[in-house]
Amino acid sequence: MTQLLLFNAINGLIIGAFYVLMALGLSLILNLSGVINFAHGGFLVLGGYLAYALTPYVGFWGALLIAPLLTAGVGFVVERLMVRRVYGRDPLYGLLLTFGLAFILEDGTRSIWGAQGLPVSIPAVLARPLSSDFFFITGYRLFMVGTVAAAVFLLFALLRYTRVGIRIRAGTLDLDTVSALGINVRGLRSLNFAAGIFLAGLSGVLAGGQLGLEPTMGTGLLMPGFVAIIVGGVGSLPGTLLGGLLIGLASGVTAVFFPSASEAVIYILMAVVLMVRPHGLLGEEGLLT
């Protein structure tokens, strides 16, 4: 029993790491642009499909980098053409706009690549477990956690030490002042949106290795991402990190004791957190209220 619990706890953290990647992208966009991006799952799927299409030419490792970049490019264009028009309006509009975009993205991937799932192979090095006891820790899953860790580290370093990053953080706290200081807020937001979509694309490439690649793949992955943000607290990237790991752990552990609640548990967790701390675990008052 203890072994089972330990296994599921570790396993939950691995899943949580994936949620983190998903949620960080959402969080970046929400923080600076105030948009709840319902199209995130759609961009995730797009990333996965682009990687599938690119792999024959650039290999798995090439696709891992290029596919998210291309997805980010699509995101950049979408932001320029549409999303930026809802900035400053009721958050409802951003939410609806991306809801509509999600429809278009799902239908678009289905029209291009077909309704049937596509076979994704991963490099043989990664496709096996590390030890026979911890068989559920495969090279691929470890690689996934590593990628997430690297992405998180890179993102936090960028936000802390580069000029753009500092501006993004400042913008999250007080966009008007940042704008008054003569900083190109429009450009900053475009860049930030593209960065968020890059993370969505990266999640898609990674998910494609473990899950079947098909046009509705993103729908089920979107909600845990939101929950991670809310649990951690809107406006706080460390909060998102914590939230993602926490809900992964919660659903992993629940799977041992009460499997039929393993999905609902993350929503219950979120409701409880918000009841006790209305702004999430690490959230700050005043942001996006």
Binding site: I15, A115, G117, V120, Q210, L211, E214, M217, P259, S260
Partner: protein, 420 residues
């Protein structure tokens, strides 16, 4: 996927014309019967063309369209052309019911086909029986459709879950042994399928070590697989379908579980095997229909005809479901020289499919007691890479006739009540 749209457009225009004509006819009253001789016979089809079942649903439509084209070339139904009206249920019951009403109330279809999703299939069966329209369930597997909820006007082409488990269970026992562990999708299909295996296990003397109920739409099976492996069964029986099956098998292979424990299951589909990378195409399963049947008449013609409409790809069981559904309706109507739903429903009881439609070696017929098609199970093994054809991903070991796999009518709980 552009083809169905184009032909759909033509269908639409004819629909509007037909609707206008129908409206005029209603005003003219007594001449209705005579004038209808010139209008096409309409078959309505409700299937989830978008959402998670989009791939099998679209394949059913392609199969149905082929049947309509072939039949129209041979004179249609009672000398009238057949028109197939396809509606997307969007994998949502409310939408599906709405579309069924639209087809029956507005478009005045004579027959109804659908749906891949069992919930929608049952909901539209309710509408169809309320409106007295002959309905063939092409691809929804839940037992109750031809069991406790069977209806006089509803027939089914695809297997029941009991037929699926009965076809494969003896082989599992013989090949792997008696300690079984299940990964079961947590909804009616999974439950009844596992119950079927439980009954078989009792008969064979196998024991069920445990089961993991995974919700429909599970993306990560690791928690379930951890528990399954801890039980160290002799065979791991994987029952989820479609995308869930793909996710589960991929993870089983990556965890290396299949090296220690053989993997098997009941229903497997070409759609799922093609969505898996070669290394994950493993296990012992049953196909509801398979395209490679050397020596069985008319199969290769069917395969060639589907390839032309399917971007060069071979037919799956789903193509055959759609094809057979349309043919069943047309054949029975032409034999009875009638479009009356009650008369045709009675005539379908015991109706046997001819070789050019059944496309399999055994006898295939609709059983009178529960309206279930007695169709064969193709039991065999998944193959990583096709040798002659990249889509030959299944090695058939045995073709078990439907009346061997189906439980007796008395066990299905079906009592057909005919209208007075």
């Amino acid at each position: 996927m552009k083809k169905p749209i184009a032909s759909g457009k033509i269908g639409r225009r004819t629909v509007l014309k037909g609707a206008a004509a129908a409206a005029v006819l209603q005003l003219t009253g007594p001449f209705v019967i005579r004038a209808r001789g010139e209008t096409p016979v309409r078959i309505g089809m409700v299937d989830p063309l978008t959402g998670v079942y989009a791939a099998p649903a679209r394949n059913e439509v392609i199969g149905a369209r082929l049947a309509v084209a072939e039949l129209n070339a041979k004179g249609g139904i009672l000398g009238r052309p057949i028109e197939l009206l396809v509606e997307d249920s969007a994998n949502d019951v409310g939408t599906g019911v709405q579309k069924a009403r639209k087809l029956i109330d507005r478009d005045r279809v004579t027959f109804l086909i659908g749906d891949v999703n069992s919930a929608i299939a049952q909901a539209i069966a309710q509408v169809a029986s309320e409106k007295r329209v002959l309905h063939i369930v092409s691809g929804g597997h839940t037992d109750t459709i031809t069991g406790t909820d069977c209806k006089w006007n509803v027939y089914r082409v695809c297997n029941t879950t009991r037929m699926e488990s009965n076809s494969v269970a003896p082989l599992l026992y013989k090949q792997y042994g008696k300690r079984w562990y299940f990964i079961t999708p947590d909804y009616a299909y999974g439950h009844t399928l596992q119950e079927g295996f439980a009954i078989d296990a009792k008969k064979l003397g196998a024991s069920i070590l445990g089961d993991e109920l995974a919700p429909l739409g599970t993306s990560d099976y690791s928690a379930y697989l951890i528990k399954a492996r801890a039980a160290s069964p002799q065979v791991l029986i994987v029952l989820p379908q479609g995308q869930d099956m793909v996710n589960c098998l991929k993870q089983i292979v990556q965890f290396g579980i299949n090296k220690a424990i053989p993997v098997a299951g009941a229903q497997q589909e070409l759609e799922s095997l093609e969505a898996l990378p070669p290394e994950a195409r493993i296990g012992t399963w049953m196909f509801e229909w398979y395209w490679k049947q050397p020596g069985v008449p008319f199969v290769s013609e069917f395969v060639a005809a589907i390839r032309k409409r399917n971007g060069g790809k071979v037919p799956t069981a789903r193509h055959w479901f759609g094809y057979t559904s349309v043919y069943s309706m047309a054949l029975v109507a032409n034999r009875e020289k009638s479009l009356d739903a009650v008369k045709l429903a009675r005539a379908l009881s015991g109706f046997e499919l001819p070789p050019e439609v059944k496309l399999q070696p055994n006898r295939v017929y609709y059983r009178a007691g529960d309206h279930q098609l007695m169709t064969s199970a193709f039991v065999g093994r998944a193959v990583a890479r096709g040798i002659d054809d990249p889509e030959d991903l299944f090695q058939v070991l045995e073709v078990v006739p439907g009346d061997k796999t189906a439980p007796p009518v008395s066990e299905t709980g079906c009592k057909v009540r005919w209208p007075a």
